[in-house]
C-alpha cells in the first residue's frame, strides 16, 4: 500500500513539474520582455530583432517552443543549423540566451555551491535553533529564556542583506578574523573553503534559527505540559533522554514540516545571500538571469527549485506519517 501511495505521489510530482513548467513558460515567454530587444542593443531594427528571434527559436508558435523544450529535457535536441549546429544531449535545458552556455552545465556547475550553502546553513540553524528553543523552553521565564528569545526576535527582524553586510563589515573589515569570501572548492583549500562559507551559513541560518528556536520553544512548552512528560520523569530517565525522546519528538514533528520546505527551497538557491557574498550558486544565477531576462536559465532555475520543493514535500509527508503514529493509522 505504501508503494502504491508513493507511486501515486510520484505521478503527482511529475504532473506538478509539468504544470510548473507550463506556467513558467507562459509567464516568462509571453509576459516578459523580448530578450531579442535586449540582445539587439542600441542601434536596433525590427529586421535584426526578427533575425535574433529566428536564432533563438522564438519565432515558432509558443506551444511548439514549449514542447520542444519538454522534449529536449527527455530526449535532447539540436540547435542551430549548418556549421552552427550543436546537439544538446538529454537532459537538455537549452542554451542561455545571454552566454550561449548549456543551461544544464550551468546548473550542474552551480548546484554544489548552493548545496554547500544550504546544507551548512541547515545544519547550523537546526543545531542552534533547536538547542536554543529547547533550553528556553526548559528554562522558561529565566533570564536565559528572555535573552535568547529577545535575540531570536532581533535576529528575525534583520533582513538578510543587512545581516550579510554587517557581518562582513565586522568580521572581515573591522576584526579581520575572516577573509573576504571566495568560493573555492573544498579540495583546493579546506580552510579557505570553510572561512568563505562560514558567513553565508551564518547569514542564512540566522533567520531560520530564530524562527525554529521560537517554534521549538513554543512546542516544547506545550509538550512539557502533557501528562506523559510527567510519566517520563517518573521513570528516572536522564533529562537529556527525557527531552530528546519525549519532548522533542512531539515538539519537532511540526517543525519537520517546515524544515523540509525551507531546505528544499534553499537548494533552489539563496538569491540574496549568494549575491551579496559573490557565491556562484543557483541563486545568483537566478538573480542574474532575471536581471538579464535570460529565459532558458529562468526556466531551469524554476524547474530545479520546483523539483526540490515537490520532492521535499513528498519526503515530509512520508516522514510525517512515520513521525506521528496516530496519523499513520488513520491515513487510510
Amino acid at each position: 500500500m505504501m508503494a502504491r501511495y508513493i507511486a501515486g505521489r510520484l505521478a503527482w510530482v511529475l504532473l506538478i513539474l509539468f504544470l510548473v513548467c507550463l506556467f513558467t513558460f507562459i509567464i516568462f515567454f509571453t509576459l516578459q520582455p523580448d530578450p531579442a530587444v535586449m540582445i539587439c542593443g542600441k542601434t536596433c531594427t525590427q529586421e535584426r530583432i526578427n533575425e535574433i528571434h529566428a536564432v533563438l527559436g522564438l519565432d515558432e508558435p509558443l506551444l511548439t517552443q514549449f514542447f520542444g523544450f519538454l522534449f529536449g529535457i527527455f530526449a535532447g535536441r539540436d540547435y542551430g543549423q549548418g556549421a552552427n549546429l550543436v546537439h544538446c544531449g538529454a537532459p537538455c535545458l537549452g542554451y542561455s540566451f545571454q552566454t550561449g552556455q548549456s543551461v544544464w552545465d550551468m546548473v550542474v556547475d552551480r548546484l554544489p555551491v548552493s548545496a554547500t550553502v544550504a546544507i551548512g546553513a541547515a545544519v547550523l540553524w537546526l543545531l542552534i535553533g533547536i538547542a536554543a528553543g529547547l533550553l528556553s523552553a526548559v528554562k522558561e521565564g529565566t533570564w536565559w529564556d528572555r535573552t535568547a528569545m529577545g535575540l531570536a526576535l532581533g535576529g528575525s527582524s534583520v533582513p538578510n542583506y543587512v545581516l550579510a553586510l554587517a557581518l562582513q563589515y565586522v568580521l572581515v573589515v573591522q576584526l579581520q578574523v575572516l577573509p573576504f569570501p571566495r568560493a573555492v572548492p573544498f579540495a583546493d583549500d579546506p580552510v579557505v573553503w570553510f572561512q568563505s562559507y562560514l558567513m553565508p551559513w551564518i547569514v542564512l541560518a540566522t533567520g531560520y534559527a530564530c524562527l525554529y528556536s521560537r517554534l521549538t520553544r513554543a512546542n516544547v512548552i506545550d509538550t512539557l505540559a502533557e501528562n506523559f512528560m510527567r510519566t517520563a520523569r517518573s521513570k528516572g530517565l536522564s533529562p537529556a533522554l527525557t527531552m530528546r525522546r519525549h519532548a522533542l519528538r512531539p515538539a519537532l514533528t511540526p517543525i519537520a514540516t517546515i524544515f523540509g520546505m525551507d531546505f528544499a527551497a534553499l537548494l533552489g538557491g539563496a538569491l540574496i545571500t549568494e549575491t551579496v557574498f559573490g557565491l556562484n550558486g543557483v541563486g545568483k544565477m537566478a538573480a542574474d538571469s532575471i536581471y538579464k531576462n535570460d529565459q532558458p536559465v529562468i526556466m531551469a532555475v524554476t524547474l530545479l527549485a520546483a523539483f526540490f520543493v515537490v520532492v521535499g514535500n513528498l519526503v515530509i509527508d512520508l516522514v510525517y506519517t512515520r513521525l506521528d503514529p496516530r496519523v499513520r493509522i488513520t491515513a487510510k
Binding site: E226, R233, K235, L237, P325, R326
Partner: protein
C-alpha cells in the same frame, strides 16, 4: 524494621490569581517495607498531589513544605538530579489517567524498555524481553505482539495495565499506585491485586495505594489514610478505620459504598 517512607506534615500549595491555595494540608503517614498504605477520600482531596509530591513531580509553581523521607533520606528540597536516580528505581508511580500519561509517539514496548534500561542498562533486546514479560505479568493478551502497539491502540483497561507493568519493571522499593485498577474489570483487578501482593511479599515492596474502591483497600491495605479537602481526616490501621471509624466523613464514606447485595431502589425499577 525502619520505615520505608515517612511523610510528615506535608503541605502542597498552588498559587492562583486569588492567592495561594493549599491543596494538601499537613498530611503525615508512614509506609513500612512490605506494607500497603491505602489512601481514600473525596475526589479532589489531594491524593494525587500527595503522591506526586513524594515523587517530586508536582506541576510547576506548586510549593511544598513538611518532610518526606525515603529510607531515611529527605526528599523535599533535594535537587532533581538526585531524585531522578530514585525515580523508577527506588520509587515508582502508576498514574491515574493512563491515556494522557503514555507518550502517543512511542510503542508501549519502548516506553517500558527505556525505563528498564535507564536503571538496569543492558541491550534493547534484553529490555524488550523484560517488557514482554512485564506485559504478560499484568495479564495483557498477546504481549509479544502488543508490545509494538501504540497507546491509542489499547483499551482503557489495557492502558492501565501497561502503566502497571511499566511501574513494576524495575521492582521498586516503593510503589505509588494512583487508582491503578479503576478501569479494570473485577477479574483482572483481582489478578493484579494478587500480583501486587505477591511482589510486596517477595521483594519487601512498600506500596501506597490510592483508590475509591474501599473493598479493594480493605483487602490489601494494612493502614488507611482518609483525606478530605486536602486534610487528613483519619489515619489508622485498616481494621480500625473500617471497623471503628472515628471521623464522620469516614463513616459517611463507608455508608455510601454501593453493595451488590443491597436492595435496589424500587422506584427506578417500576
Amino acid at each position: 524494621m525502619s520505615d520505608l517512607l515517612v511523610v510528615e506534615d506535608l503541605t502542597v500549595t498552588f498559587p492562583t490569581t486569588r492567592g495561594p491555595v493549599d491543596v494538601v494540608k499537613g498530611v503525615s503517614f508512614t509506609v513500612g517495607r512490605d506494607e500497603t498504605v491505602g489512601i481514600v477520600g473525596e475526589s479532589g482531596s489531594g491524593k494525587s498531589m500527595t503522591s506526586l509530591a513524594v515523587m517530586g513531580l508536582l506541576p510547576k509553581g506548586a510549593r511544598t513544605s513538611g518532610s518526606i523521607r525515603l529510607d531515611g533520606t529527605e526528599l523535599l528540597g533535594r535537587p532533581d538530579r538526585e531524585l531522578r536516580r530514585l525515580r523508577g528505581d527506588q520509587m515508582s508511580m502508576i498514574f491515574q489517567d493512563p491515556l494522557s500519561s503514555l507518550n502517543p509517539y512511542y510503542t508501549v514496548g519502548l516506553q517500558i524498555e527505556e525505563m528498564y534500561r535507564a536503571h538496569r542498562g543492558g541491550s534493547r533486546a534484553a529490555a524488550r524481553k523484560v517488557a514482554v514479560e512485564a506485559l504478560r505479568q499484568v495479564d495483557l493478551p498477546e504481549p509479544e505482539r502488543r508490545v509494538d502497539y501504540y497507546p491509542h491502540q489499547f483499551s482503557g483497561g489495557q492502558r492501565q495495565r501497561v502503566m502497571i507493568a511499566m511501574a513494576l519493571v524495575c521492582s521498586p522499593a516503593l510503589l505509588i499506585a494512583d487508582e491503578p485498577t479503576t478501569a479494570l474489570d473485577v477479574t483482572v483487578q483481582a489478578q493484579i491485586l494478587k500480583l501486587l501482593a505477591g511482589l510486596r511479599q517477595e521483594r519487601g515492596m512498600g506500596m501506597v495505594f490510592i483508590t475509591h474502591d474501599l473493598a479493594v483497600i480493605s483487602s490489601i491495605a494494612t493502614r488507611v489514610l482518609v483525606m478530605r479537602q486536602g486534610e487528613q481526616v483519619e489515619y489508622g490501621t485498616a481494621e480500625q478505620v473500617f471497623a471503628e471509624p472515628r471521623h464522620d466523613y469516614t463513616r459517611m464514606l463507608l455508608e455510601s459504598i454501593p453493595r451488590i447485595d443491597d436492595p435496589v431502589d424500587g422506584e427506578v425499577k417500576a
